[in-house]
Symmetry: C2
């Protein structure tokens, strides 16, 4: 039924709930299971609006990438503990929803499972949440948990 | 995993795709399968804004209810042809998203499967689509197809 399941993870409780459901779906279908953690490049615009300016934006990018990798590793371990078979974790940078959808198309994902409220919650109220954007843009079914 | 699956159906192609996926989910999980068709009572406000006014609003309500029943019956037949076990179809009136979510809570549904674009599409652009509202309001996972 499903061959490739993608779970975007951002370290939130909701993402973990989504992962749990995705692992159950993998057990039923034998699908490949991937997690994706998206981080955003530090924007000079944001820096210019911030009262505290980093001396080295490149260094800040590295910190964010490392943080994303930590989240991805934690998700992979959690998936294994839930009984997932060969979960793989990926890290990408870009705007969350578009990056998730782009990745899902590249990998021919046929089910995206994601939490309804993650770390992008506050932004969600203003700009439309990540889950709403993903359900609008994705080519495949999206399960919002 | 899932015990009660609900598929809102409005006669659209997307609802049919959602139904197909829900039937597959039923085959994997043995869950109970329900479809729900929601129609709106004819509003006097809408009538007052329309150039063509019905002589008898009650009669118009009956027509809409009958139309909803037709859609529900067609969905049930389609589900059976797809191999569903004991699908049940329901008809309710009210605002689509809230009525779907209310029904899902009453029936302790643990998965809602629905099409991303149905007949409410144009309204969706203005007010937030039914699928977005349902994913926001539901207590259970929502699969948008």
């Amino acid at each position: 039924m499903f061959k490739r399941i993608l779970v975007p993870v951002d370290g939130s409780e909701n993402a973990l709930r989504a992962l749990k459901l995705a692992v159950e779906m993998q057990k039923m279908t034998g699908a490949e299971l991937m997690t994706l953690t998206v981080f955003r490049h530090h924007s000079l615009l944001e820096a210019s609006m911030s009262m505290v300016r980093p001396d080295d934006p490149q260094n800040l990018d590295d910190v964010m990438r490392e943080h994303a990798k930590d989240i991805a590793d934690t998700a992979k371990k959690a998936a294994l503990e839930m009984g997932a078979q060969n979960p793989r974790s990926f890290v990408r940078n870009g705007p969350p929803a578009r990056t998730i959808v782009k990745f899902s198309k590249e990998r021919e994902v046929d089910l995206i499972v994601l939490g309804s409220r993650g770390l992008g919650d506050l932004e969600g109220y203003l700009l439309g949440s990540v889950s709403h954007k993903v359900t609008s843009l994705a080519d495949c079914p999206v399960m919002v948990v």
